[in-house]
Structure formats: structure tokens, C-alpha cells
Amino acid sequence: MTSFLTARRLRGVITGSAVAALVLTTAACGGTTRDDEDASSGDSGSSASADPNAEIPEGLAIAFLPKQLNNPYFAVADGGGEKAVGELKGDYSEVGPSEASASSQVSYINTLTQQGADVIVTSANDPNAICSALDQARAGGAKVVTFDSDTDPECRDAFINQATADGIAQTQIDLMAEQIGGSGKVAILSATANATNQNAWIEIMKSYAAEKYPQMQIVSTVYGDDEDEKSFQETQGLLQSTPDLKGIISPTTVGIAAAARYLSGSEYKGKVALTGLGTPNQMRDFVKDGTVTAFALWNPADLGYLAAYAGAALSAGQITGAEGETFTAGDLGEYTIGKDGEIVLGDPTVFKADNIDDFDF
């Protein structure tokens, strides 16, 4: 039984990407917008011109504002950011609410604005709700970089996308198809029903699977609310309601861990395939005991690292967030800014029994 009070609190977990912006300005997500009354997307924040040779000054105040403090995933990502800020000789700080709500994030953005932060790196609990607060921060001179979960492109300077939505969706479908031989019934265990990233991925997964693996059938999508227990129950519900289920895809770390735990303790272990997005630490046991063959994820530390560099480059004026600009992100090398100020980290890493021990997060 999960809590009805907080069941819908979006725990800060992996929610990805990109598409959020796309999703919200077009009506891709089941038509959440009425029409573009004030459509004003486009090259946001690129009014000033970039100076690629500008020096990154020391002592930049770079603040990380994750969806929720003490969330392991964001702790790793912020850790990457801290490393980058150290290299840049900047002033790193991590602030955030203890519950993953947009309204408390707004309060922290306001505080950062008041403190005069140079760069705010954040992952949005709600793509729109924190927009006006970010606008105020930018009006106060701060540069805003989003990572993991984007906001409306208008209210940030750049977005670090851990992987493209296509990449994430296709990787998972490919992994699943590999394990079940490309045919059979597959279900999806998602996060909350209103998680924009997951919804976008699921759409792409469905169309990609229909096109590439016509024998594979995505029969249902259930929501574990990014709560372990709920996800656990939903997994069990899936197997009850679809006895001939061949595989489960869970594009959320909480979901895949819960599903793996359920499978490993049930008669379905090894018979029902499981893949999705998970962290190596949580999944290690299940990969080793054979419940899970392979799953994917990007390295969150790299995500935070890249975000910090992007923020510093923005603040220094090396880049403005316009398409085509380039900058160097320390050890990760050179990156090019894509459409709508989007910077893609790269393809997700696939974890299997033979490489999982190389990662610790």
C-alpha cells in the first residue's frame, strides 16, 4: 500500500530528457496544451553574441538544484558537477528541497536569485512551474542550465540531455527484442503517469517497436509512481493479468529495481525478460543472479560534469546557447549545441554481467 498523500510526489529519479520541451510546446503529450496562443519558442536567450575565446573567470558561483536533495541519483550527478566546478576553480553549492515538488524548487530558485548565483544548474520537477522563477533569476544575471528534466526552452539557457529520446527508447526496445527473440507480449512499467519524459519515450518505443519488431506487442503500460512498493505491486499485477507476458521494460530506476526484485523471488525468474533504465549498484545482484541480462543508463556523474561546464561557458560568454556553438567540457571533450539550446551527453551505456563491476553509482 502506498501513500495517498505523497504517492504522486515525483521522486527525483531518472526521468530524462529533451523531449519535454518538444512535448510541451506541441501537443504531443496527449494534447496538454490548448493551442499556442503565445507561441514564442525559437532561439531563446541567444540575443547576445558569443565570444568563443572568452576566459572562464575563477570563483563563479555555480549552484546545483536537483529535483530533491538526498536523492542518490542526483547526488551522483551533483558530484560530477562538483568535480567540474573544482576544476574551474568555481564556488560549488548544492541546495534543494527535501521533497520533490516544483513549488519548493521555486523557493530555492528565489533564494539563489537573491544570493546572486552566477549559474543555476537544475532538474525541473515541473517543466512550467519553475519557469517564471528561472526567468527572474536570469533577469538577475544568472545563467540557467537544466539537466535530466528540462523546462520550457524559453526559461533556460541550455539543456543537458543525457541521451536523445530516440536513443533511449530505441536502446531499450533493442535490448528487449534481443532477449525475447523479437516476438511476444511486452509490458511497460513506468514512473508516474504524468512523467513527461517517460511518456515521450513510451510513445517512441511503441512506434519504433511496431516498425522494427512487428512480432513484438506492447500490451500495456502501468505506473509504479516511482515508488518501490507500488512498482512491485504493479509488476505482480502485470504478470497476473497477462499470463503469457514475455518481457517488461521499465524506463525508471525505481521501477526496474522493484520489478527485478519481484521477478528474482518469483517463479518467473529467468522466464520473463526485464530491461530498462537502472543504476548498476541497484541492479548488480539481479544481473549476477540471472534475473536481468542487460539494462541501460547514462552516467549521471558525466551529466552533472557537463552541465557545470556548460554553465561556466555560458556565464563567461563563450557560448550563448545558440545552435551550432561549441565549447570544451574538461575531460569529456568538445560539445556542440543543438537545436533549442540542447546539448546531448551521448548514447546510454548498456550494462551487462561483464561490465557492470566497472561502475559504482
Binding site: 500500500m1 501513500s3 521522486r11 536533495l69 536523492n71 505491486q233 499485477g237 497476473q240 541497484q282
Partner: protein, 358 residues
């Protein structure tokens, strides 16, 4: 709690003071209604399971029933503890946070000392919970501050403490792989096919329920909740009893934390967030009156079971999971409305008998 007595008229003073009550059958009726109340939840549970079975015949498969039991275990233990507190006309809203602290503490203990026997881990969790309960109980009983306010305060404070501990020790999450296998096998252990965690929960409910029913100190809790002032005048050590109820409830919340850790094996600082209203809801659905004085741990446990089953059954019935919260809310309202109706009918019957009997 003395001030709250002002809101309750003395026994029956607002009821019609009909001529002398001389009824043998009144008592039998009253008892029957109590039984009816618990049977009612049981019937609702059976009905729900029945309907789900029709929709999905595999609902009662061994695996599924085990899962249901595991899911219910934590809430059942919490509901049993909460019953003791609510019966005294208090409430403990901090149980979710206490569970979180206890689970995290036990997780930390096990990670740092993998050789810790399971029994010691369980006891450690209970001690952590009992200490939290002691803080709550001491403020309520000694400073005479309403428990709703105190435990709302500790709800925030204990959660903050857990979170602070986690961030300062740099261990934000404890994963299954960090935990010793003895503890993990405890989480999955079964006796006669029944999960041990559930058996523990059942044992807790039986002990608490039996104690409340058949021991002086248990009956005194009912007395305190039924009429705090009368309890004081009749020599019941009200402060001590209330304190004890809070400590025991805290210990059970701590135990629930251990069960939580054993079952989920993945812990972070958010464990049990928001569980408090669920627990209160389970007790209310199970016939424990929020105003104290009536209800049983058995009823509360059935309420917890019913809420858990709804969570599991809805997706299997193909009902949009969005409806679950609404269903839980409706269930709570139905339960309290039913209680009220039963009480009114009982009062009317007793009054009617009074008149005829004299």
C-alpha cells in the same frame, strides 16, 4: 488532554434521559454490533477479493497471496500500534518518519556490521522507534500538549533528522547488495509457505489485540480515551498509560521499519513518507473511533489489509490506477458513516428498551 473533555458532554447527558434502563439484551446487542463492525470489513475484503477473482482467476495464486501478505505486513503492524494511541484519544502522525528513521538506522547498522544477527537488528529498530515514541509521549503526557500538534512537529523533525544523518554520513541509499544475506533471506523467508514478515505482523496484532481486550492496562487505555477526566478520577495513571501507549506504538513503528527494510532491501531517507495518514485511515476503516474509546487492533489490522488489497486489486480489475486514491477516500467515508449509523441505532435501541423495560 484535559481540555478536550469540555467538548464531550457527560455520559448520555444529551441523550434523552429516559426512565431507568433495565435491559439485559442491550449488552448483547452492543457486542453484536462490535462484532458486526469487524465482520463488515471482513465481508468487504472477501467481496473485493471475490470480484477480483472473477476478473482474474489467478488473483489468489500462491505467489500473489504471498505478495499481498508482504505488502500488508508493514501497514498492519503500524495500524496495530496506532490503535493503542487512538484509543486513548490521541494520535501519532510521526509513525511514517519513525519508520524511516528506524529503517535507515537498521540499514546502517547492518551495512557497518554485516555480522549482526537478525534478532539484534529487529531489536535495534524497535529501540530506535521506542525512543521516538518516548519523545512524543513525554511531550504529550507531561507537557499536556495535544498529540496532533506534537506528532505533526516530530513528523517534520524526525524526517529531517534521518535525512541529515544520511547526508552527513554520505550514505544516501542502502541497496540490496549492501545488506548481509542473512537479513535478506529473513525478508524472503517463509514458514509453511507464509512469509515470515506477515507472521510477525499477525503475531503483533494478536498480542496487541489480546492485551487491549483482556488486561487491566489495556482496558485502562479505553477508559482514558472514553472519558479522560473520569479516568483520572478513578485512579488510572493517565500520564503513564498514555506515555506507554506512545512508546509501544513507537517501538512497533520501529519494528515496521525493520520489516520495511527486510522487504524492500532498498532504503533511502524517504522510506515511509506520508504513511501516517494511511495508517490512520486503516484504523478508521477498521472501526477505531478517532475520538477514542472504541475499536480493536484486529479491526485496524483488517482495515490495513483491506486498503492494501484495494491497492493490489484495482490494477488487476483493469481500473485506471488514478481511481485508487479516490476509492480509498470513499472507503474511509463509508466506514465512518457506517460506524455512526451503528452507534445511533444502538443508542436508539437502548433508549427504546429503557422505556419499555421500566
Amino acid at each position: 488532554m484535559s481540555a478536550s473533555t469540555a467538548h464531550r458532554p457527560p455520559t448520555g447527558a444529551t441523550e434523552a434521559d429516559a426512565p431507568e434502563a433495565r435491559s439485559r439484551r442491550g449488552a448483547a446487542l452492543a457486542q453484536r454490533l462490535v462484532v458486526v463492525r469487524e465482520l463488515g470489513i471482513l465481508a468487504a475484503l472477501v467481496l473485493l477479493i471475490g470480484i477480483t477473482l472473477i476478473a482474474n482467476p489467478r488473483f489468489l495464486s500462491g505467489q500473489n497471496v504471498r505478495d499481498l501478505m508482504l505488502s500488508a505486513a508493514v501497514l498492519v503492524v503500524l495500524a496495530a500500534g496506532q490503535t493503542m494511541v487512538i484509543i486513548t484519544r490521541n494520535v501519532d502522525l510521526s509513525v511514517g518518519s519513525v519508520l524511516g528513521l528506524s529503517a535507515y538506522a537498521v540499514g546502517t547498522l547492518l551495512v557497518d556490521h554485516p555480522g549482526t544477527p537478525v534478532v539484534v537488528a529487529v531489536l535495534a529498530g524497535m529501540v530506535v522507534g521506542a525512543v521516538c515514541g518516548l519523545v512524543n509521549g513525554a511531550i504529550v503526557a507531561v507537557a499536556k500538549v495535544p498529540s496532533l500538534v506534537v506528532t505533526l512537529g516530530t513528523l517534520y523533525a524526525i524526517r529531517g533528522l534521518t535525512s541529515l544523518w544520511a547526508s552527513s554520513s554520505d550514505r544516501l541509499q542502502i541497496n540490496a547488495s549492501d545488506l548481509p544475506s542473512s537479513f535478506k533471506s529473513f525478508g524472503g523467508a517463509r514458514v509453511l509457505g507464509i512469509p515470515v514478515l506477515f507472521l510477525i505482523a499477525v503475531a503483533v496484532v494478536l498480542v496487541v489485540g489480546y492485551h487491549l481486550r483482556s488486561y487491566r492496562s489495556g482496558r485502562e487505555l479505553y477508559g482514558i480515551g472514553s472519558a479522560p477526566e473520569a479516568a483520572r478520577l478513578s485512579g488510572i495513571p493517565v500520564g503513564r498509560r498514555v506515555l506507554t501507549a506512545f512508546v509501544l506504538n513507537g517501538a512497533l513503528a520501529g519494528l515496521a521499519g525493520v520489516l520495511y527494510a527486510a522487504r524492500f532491501q532498498t532504503l533511502d531517507t524517504t522510506a515511509g513518507t506520508g504513511l501516517e495518514l494511511n495508517v490512520v485511515a486503516a484504523a478508521v476503516v477498521g472501526g477505531v473511533a478517532i475520538a477514542g474509546g472504541t475499536g480493536s487492533a484486529w479491526g485496524a489490522a483488517l482495515g490495513a489489509l483491506l486498503l492494501t488489497t484495494i491497492g493490489t486489486a484495482l490494477p488487476q480489475l483493469g481500473i485506471n490506477p488514478f481511481w485508487r486514491d479516490a476509492a480509498v477516500g470513499a472507503l474511509i467515508l463509508a466506514a465512518i458513516a457506517l460506524d455512526r449509523t451503528l452507534t445511533l441505532r444502538l443508542a436508539a435501541r437502548l433508549r427504546g428498551r429503557n422505556l419499555r423495560g421500566s
